[in-house]
Amino acid sequence: MSASLERGLDRFRESLDADTAGFFATCVRCGMCAEACLFYTETEEPRYTPIHKLQPLKRLWWREYTLVGRIAAALGLSKPVTGGELADWSELVYDSCTLCGRCSLVCPVGNDITYMIRRMRDGMAAAGYAPPGLVGATRRAIELGSPMGVQLATLQAQIRHQEEATGLPIPMDREGADYLVLLSSMEIVNTPEMLGALARIFDRAGVSWTLASDAFEATNSGIQIGVAELAREIVMRTVTAAERLGVKGVVSPECGHAYMALRWEGPDLIGRPYRFEVLHILELLDRLRGEGRLKVDSTFNLPITFHDPCQVVRRGGVTEAPRNLLKMVATDVREMEEHGVYNWCCGGGGGVSAIGRAEELRLKAFGKKRGQIEATGAKTVATACANCRVVMEEAIDHYQIGVELVGLTELIADHLETEESHHG
């Protein structure tokens, strides 16, 4: 057995806890989780059934941690997990799972399948079966500070543009600010207007904020790929900057996995609680709205719908904030049939958008979202995750469906109460 396979299997063993063992033992193979997964519904291929994606991990558990399985293994009645098998499963564990969490919500016996797939990725990556696209993104995150290879100079150039466009300063490394704001590479490269939007909102609401030159990137590809050491290093970068600047809170940008990584998994990765609070940008905006510090003086009046980013809503628990904000700024909000915690994924979360070989499958999986969007009749889709946005924009281009995507933060910035209207 190769050293990397042995390492991977060791990770599998470490990932087994009471939760996972209980879930494996409880599964009745009813197949209902398949109907919850967009990779199954859009392809109707049974191998995309969520619980099946865990088969090698389940067999390792059964062979090594159960009496019957150990006897079967000793008698040679069950095969050990092999490298070839893990290679076959790479597509199932990565390309066809966005860690969206929907399967975990429908399993009748209560299995949290997503929780297990997330843990299984640790072993897959250690054994060397993570997809090359994700490996590259993670390497760039460590070496260059961002998964897309965005460097500080690029950010500084975007800051200059946005300062010119808004006439407002965008603070960097300001000690004692209330909030350290993070960005995602996707935003810096594809939607830099987000920076200007933030500057305008924070200026109007009187929020003291800063960016950090050594921790501006929020995306944690270490978590997506499943390498705890790298995930820890990426989280630690933010924690160090936040504590150096003495901020009260760190604001995760419009990016689902970044929020999940920093808010929910980060403390476990670094082994201690933070000394600051972590908020998704929508949570902060909704808080400001509640305090009467965020007001709009015009509204978006065309039909608009909202795509719930899985990691922000179902996995992250930020369900009401986007709706409160959207109602404030738009007059014709049309919810998709299954929305909120029951939303359907865009097809590109969990690092899938960085996996080149998964493109065809991803476009197919988008069929679910496409149907949902079209059923609302809205031609504008607001969302709160730069990754969802880019994934959907690409798919919309591909299928030529004529729908516009907009970040909710930007939408609010565009309708923000101005100085004149405020005093007038």
Binding site: V28, G31, A36
Partner: protein, 219 residues
């Protein structure tokens, strides 16, 4: 009535039952330790809600059908045979009588005709479950031999019980002995098959609800 079937009945009523009960308890304890001794980590991130309480809610909530309409066959037949099993087992007069004599505990029974009808419905629902396992592409793909064994183990007590009550197929004593034997085999194997979900379902749902509850999501 043959001497052999009387001896068989006496054995399944006496020593057989005690052995089965002992193995059932041992097996169950072994399995629960095997599974839950692995332990779980406490998250360090500040919780948005008391997640343990969410777990209890999920135990209840997960009993209602999800939004996936495609799974309606599984839901309908699934509910029917589970309810059928529980009612025929706990509310059939002879079963209650047996328990009263054994441990002195009893409760009101349901009319025998009703329980009898329910047994037929349960058998039909189990038939539907088997058909769907064989015909549904996902279920067929996921299925292993154990699924068919578990199906047989579940069906046998209901079927033999029904045949026994109606004095069908075999002499009453023989069928009664087979009925008891089928229950005993079920007891012995239950902890070691997926049928263990009759207990692990509760901790699994709780843990799922607890995971989601950390972020404030009602699962």
């Amino acid at each position: 009535m043959s001497a052999a079937s009387i001896a068989f009945l006496a054995w399944v009523r006496g020593p057989g039952f005690h052995i089965a009960l002992g193995l059932f308890c041992l097996g169950l304890v072994w399995r629960l330790i095997e599974i839950y001794a692995l332990g779980r980590d406490r998250p360090l991130a500040p919780l948005r809600r008391r997640s343990g309480a969410s777990g209890w809610w999920t135990i209840l909530r997960r009993s209602r059908p999800s939004a996936e309409h495609e799974s309606m066959v599984s839901y309908l037949a699934g509910y029917t045979f589970h309810i059928g099993l529980i009612v025929t087992f706990f509310f059939f007069t002879p079963h209650i009588e047996l328990l009263r004599r054994a441990v002195g505990l009893s409760w009101p029974s349901l009319p025998t005709a009703l329980v009898d009808g329910l047994a037929v419905v349960t058998l039909l629902a189990l038939g539907v479950m088997l058909a769907s396992r064989l015909l549904d592409p996902v279920k067929r793909f996921l299925s292993v031999a154990e699924d068919y064994v578990a199906w047989g183990l579940t069906l046998a007590p209901v079927l033999t019980g029904y045949l026994c009550f109606h004095h069908l197929l075999l002499p009453y004593t023989t069928m009664l002995a087979l009925h008891l034997a089928s229950v005993e085999v079920l007891m012995v194997l239950m902890p070691f098959t997926k049928l263990i979900h009759f207990v692990t379902l509760f901790p699994s749902r709780w843990m799922n609800g607890e995971h989601f509850g950390r972020t404030g999501v009602a699962a």
